[in-house]
Symmetry: C2
Subunit: 271 residues, 2 copies
């Protein structure tokens, strides 16, 4: 089926934006996907050899808040039709990270040369989806206002281990005034497949964060005296766990350069 046939089948011009985003990636676009194809679900990527995929799948099952699976491929199949009829996971992400023995050895814009018949692809939900829902409800998001990356922190919350996959949950933080923090709990509870409700609020040290001004990933943002820092499970967790496992071979996306899918953020709402 051609791209345009797929577009016509799934709703015409509006869907074109996600299809176009993937086509741009195929043609070499290699910048952040923040703000790209608004309204469409973006995903974190993990590609693993079949013999490790079972343990990783179970890790996601055991840790659904940081690792919510929104799509998965067959062994050796680069397609994930449920996320886009034309989608080819080897070309459609802006930039990849190729991991060997726990180190990033390549950051290519496609993985045609790295593809193998035993690879399994996992696409995991991403906070961009719930951030859209928060913005739609008029809640201000500090790191977006400041045009920086969301601050992220390693916590003392241990993920449930599976095979070689183990490590702490990584969380992202967004500060809110208390009434907005309550509203943010309600809004994000509707989206369990993109991290869902927060895992913590108010006492960073209780989850092992010494200083919210010094994130482990991303950029710091100010938290006012009358605000509450609210923490969500973060899709960086599986990437940190994959690095920690020092696997012989794995592929992920480069942070912030995500897979754009044809799913709509609003479709992920359970209510």
């Amino acid at each position: 089926m051609t791209v345009f046939a797929a577009v016509q089948r799934t709703g015409g011009e509006a869907v074109l934006r996600s299809v176009e985003a993937r086509r741009a990636c195929r043609n070499g676009m290699a910048s952040s996907t923040a703000g790209v194809a608004n309204g469409f679900v973006q995903g974190n990527l993990a590609i693993l050899p079949e013999k490790l995929a079972g343990a990783f799948h179970r890790f996601c099952q055991l840790n659904p808040k940081p690792c919510p699976i929104i799509g998965m491929s067959d062994v050796g199949d680069p397609r994930i039709p449920a996320l886009g009829l034309d989608l080819d996971i080897r070309t459609d992400v802006p930039r990849y990270r190729v991991w060997r023995d726990g180190e990033v050895t390549d950051e290519p814009t496609d993985i045609m040369n790295h593809w193998r018949d035993d690879l399994v692809t996992f696409v995991l939900g991403c906070s961009f989806s719930f951030e859209e829902a928060l913005l739609d409800e008029g809640l201000p998001i500090r790191h977006i206002e400041h045009n920086v990356r969301v601050p992220m922190y390693r916590t003392n919350i241990a993920c449930s281990p599976s095979g070689p996959f183990e490590g702490p949950m990584v969380v992202s933080m967004r500060p809110f005034k208390p009434a907005d923090a309550i509203r943010a709990v309600q809004i994000t509870s509707r989206f369990p497949s993109v991290h869902g409700a927060p895992v913590h609020l108010g006492h960073p040290h209780s989850i092992g964060i010494k200083d919210v001004a010094k994130p482990d990933y991303g950029d710091p943002v100010p938290v006012a005296d009358d605000e509450i820092p609210v923490f969500w499970a973060c899709g960086v967790t599986p990437q940190a766990v994959i690095a920690n496992a020092k696997l012989p071979f794995a592929i992920t996306h480069a942070p912030g350069l995500m897979l754009v899918t044809d799913l709509r953020n609003r479709q992920l709402a359970v209510l």
Copy 2:
């Protein structure tokens, strides 16, 4: 219809507990209804002359979080069949407060001698219902553990005024560990007719509370360093507003001695 016919119509033995509770009140029972007829909705009471009832009804409409209406009578009618077929509001609350010009002038166990043909009854939701839901989910409630009344505070959050009815929102406070506070937001969001989600958490001074250890009503409870104080709109608000309005005549329940209805707490869940 007799009491027993009503019981048979609405489900037999289980319903008997609410009917029995009201019958006990009719026969002089005048103690707290905390823990009475578990599973059944209890309500705050406000009885006003018809010429003030319209403004009070509008006050409730404007301030649904502290004043959620779960039942209302016709003018001069002591019955509220939707809350109990046998219910007689003149006898079925353990203890009443009769207000004249803003002062409590009588605390009788029935209001047969105070009843008038122009009175309108409002029954407002009460936190007992959502506390049951919190306990059912395994969340600990501090004031119940300590066997004291919930701590309540006047805030700097102004209710929207209507006629003579105006004043600050009163809130109740329950401390939780952060993850439990998030869960408590989710659980109580399901129950908008019994105050719903919290109105605040974490920064008492932001809503005009100088010292959580000194509640304006009820009893203090300890808040641990790793806990968050969570604040819900409270049914004491309408009583405080009625007192503040210095109405020529009004009747409420005595605090903690509520109307027991035939509604089930679980029926109030919107999800």
